[in-house]
């Protein structure tokens, strides 16, 4: 069925951390365990550092979007502000509402972080840096990130507060709805590249990124993904789950200190995950930018290491998300549902159909060299 697909140029040798651990295990089990532990510590460090950097960036970018300066006091241009805030959150009193479901109240933020952490496993940072390169990577991330909504629902429910519950219910409805569109747009890329394995999807974009390599449908899929993913991670203009103007803080109204920090961490990790998904599926992931037959240009681009390419693309995506957040006003609940069921979903289905036809007819750009 997929015989019109290009034979992948395997110029990049892909190896994941889990593969490396298992090969080392054959030689020396202790080394493998040390290796795995180091990887875990690295992930945790990466997780907290990413969140801290993102929070600082978001505050700075938001401030300048609104003609303000943002944090300026702690360190040069407030660069250490996130560290100060983290310390504050760590030392804060842990307040649990009297009538709350204590165990669930504690479990909810942990679940949110857990979902984000699990999704991080499949992210391909570079050909040599991915925790695991599983053959259902795309499916895995879609599934696991859906787990986060359970944390939000639990948090809202266990707080025993009407605002929290309303926020949580909204989040549930929203995420379930928008997951459809997000998946439909992801399917377009999966169809074109003929694989759900991230390394193969990235390598299939050797000649050009799917956003323009798939004629029009790629761009439409990208736009749908952009909207749906923003809604999935509850960011403005889709932050109805928090909706501070009507729900004080939505599902995390009753959270403070470390527990709140966990929700916060999960929120920014999700931003990172969604951005890396977008960058990997539509913008070529760690693959350097190649344009047709411009050999010299392509060689110059190859000089930039793939990890940096990935970082650049993800930063671009994150910036776009922040730009949206600080520009657009929040939607009403009915508008939100209308946008999904009356606009995004029908367009997504038609787009998928077109993409299927295009894939079968082998009609997309730059197929020759591959």
């Amino acid at each position: 069925m997929f015989n019109s697909l290009p034979n992948l140029q395997v110029s990049w040798e892909v190896i994941s951390v889990s593969q490396r651990v298992s090969t080392t295990y054959g030689e020396s089990p202790i080394l493998a365990v040390v290796y795995a532990l180091a990887a875990i510590v690295a992930i945790i460090l990466f997780m907290s550092l990413t969140a801290m950097t993102l929070v600082y960036t978001e505050r700075k970018v938001a401030a300048h979007f609104q003609c303000r300066l943002g944090p300026m006091r702690v360190g040069w241009h407030g660069i250490l502000q996130s560290i100060a805030d983290t310390l504050k959150l760590l030392l804060k009193e842990d307040i649990v509402p009297d009538q709350a479901d204590k165990a669930m109240h504690l479990f909810a933020p942990v679940l949110c972080v857990l979902a984000a952490l699990l999704a991080l496993i499949a992210i391909p940072f570079s050909p040599y840096l991915a925790v695991s390169d599983m053959n259902i990577g795309v499916l895995f991330i879609s599934a696991v990130s859906g787990l986060g909504v359970l944390g939000i629902l639990l948090g809202g429910w266990s707080s025993n507060n009407k605002w929290s519950l309303l926020g949580a219910m909204r989040a549930g409805a929203q995420i379930i709805s928008y997951e459809l569109s997000a998946t439909l747009s992801i399917l377009v890329v999966v169809m074109f590249s003929g694989s759900m394995k991230f390394s193969e999807i990235v390598q299939s974009q050797d000649q050009g990124w799917w956003i323009w390599r798939a004629p029009v449908v790629g761009l439409v899929a990208f736009l749908i993904f952009l909207v749906a993913s923003t809604a999935e991670i509850n960011r403005t203009p889709f932050d109805l789950a928090e909706g501070e103007s009507e729900l004080t803080a939505g599902f995390h109204t009753e959270y403070s200190g470390m527990r709140f920090a966990f929700f916060f961490l999960a929120e920014y990790l999700n931003l990172f995950i969604v951005s890396s998904m977008g960058a990997t599926l539509f913008l070529g992931g760690w693959m350097p930018l190649h344009i047709g037959n411009l050999t010299f240009f392509n060689q110059v681009m190859d000089l930039i290491p793939p990890g940096l390419w990935f970082a650049l693309k993800v930063s671009g995506f994150i910036f776009l998300s922040m730009w949206f957040r600080w520009t657009f006003p929040r939607l009403r609940v009915d508008q939100l549902m209308k946008l999904e069921w009356k606009v995004l979903l029908p367009i997504g289905f038609i787009n998928l159909l077109l993409a299927a036809i295009l894939t079968l007819s082998g009609f997309y750009f730059f197929p020759g060299n591959s």
Binding site: V61, H64, L69, W326, T327, F328, V343
Partner: protein, 212 residues
């Protein structure tokens, strides 16, 4: 986009569906353009880095942070102690104390007491004064450690208005008609004016050196 949504009963044709998506998209892009302009032009930032820029800080003229009484070049004001501002104040933040023994006019101002701590800066007193004696200034660094220090005396002397004084024969006569009542001159006489929560004895010995 608006004209079609205003008529909910009418069916939106399929072209209208796409037109609405398109116009919505365009307007979103316009919004993005505006915010990007702010981001890319740091000169649009309005935040002041106070107190670092304290020396060069310029506050807006219209900022109402402190009530002042206008005194002319000779140090004389135009207040006739008519009490209109006192009555206009919704918070009883003003007390106009008349001179017990007026020298030249029927009524003369002794001390003009203004309580910053209960003032809402509504500007009513400034607007009602028939002689434009009062003025709002933008000097905003008014914080002190003792609430009593927020009770100001705005008049610099007790005596008739500048108009009456101008009619006097010489400086000697003018000097005899006034006596100093300045915030710089030590305790402010409050003429028995009751201030909630503050014992009277304290008020008499209130020292406001260096304030205002």
């Amino acid at each position: 986009m608006n004209d079609t949504s205003a008529q909910p009963t009418r069916r939106i044709p399929i072209t209208g569906y796409f037109a609405r998506i398109f116009t919505g998209f365009v307007s979103l892009l316009k919004g993005l353009k505006i915010t990007f302009h702010y981001l890319s032009h740091p000169s649009t930032v309005v935040t002041q880095q106070y107190p670092e820029n304290r020396a060069t800080l310029k506050m807006a003229e219209r900022l109402r942070a402190q009530l002042t009484m206008i005194h002319d070049d000779n140090g004389y004001h135009k207040c006739t102690a008519c009490h209109i501002c006192e009555q206009a104040c919704p918070n009883a933040s003003i007390h106009v104390a008349e001179r017990a023994k007026p020298a030249l006019s029927k009524t003369e101002l002794d001390t003009f007491i203004w309580r910053l701590d209960s003032c809402t800066f509504c500007n009513l007193c400034v607007m009602v004064c028939p002689f434009q004696v009062l003025q709002m200034k933008s000097t905003f660094e008014s914080s002190v450690y003792d609430q009593r220090l927020l009770i100001y005396n705005l008049s610099r002397y007790a005596g008739p208005t500048s108009t009456v004084l101008a009619k006097q024969a010489d400086d000697e006569a003018r000097k005899n008609a006034v006596e100093p009542r300045s915030v710089y001159d030590g305790p402010t006489a409050l003429n028995g004016f009751f201030l909630a929560g503050i014992p009277k004895e304290l008020l008499v010995t209130l020292d406001r050196k260096g304030e205002v």
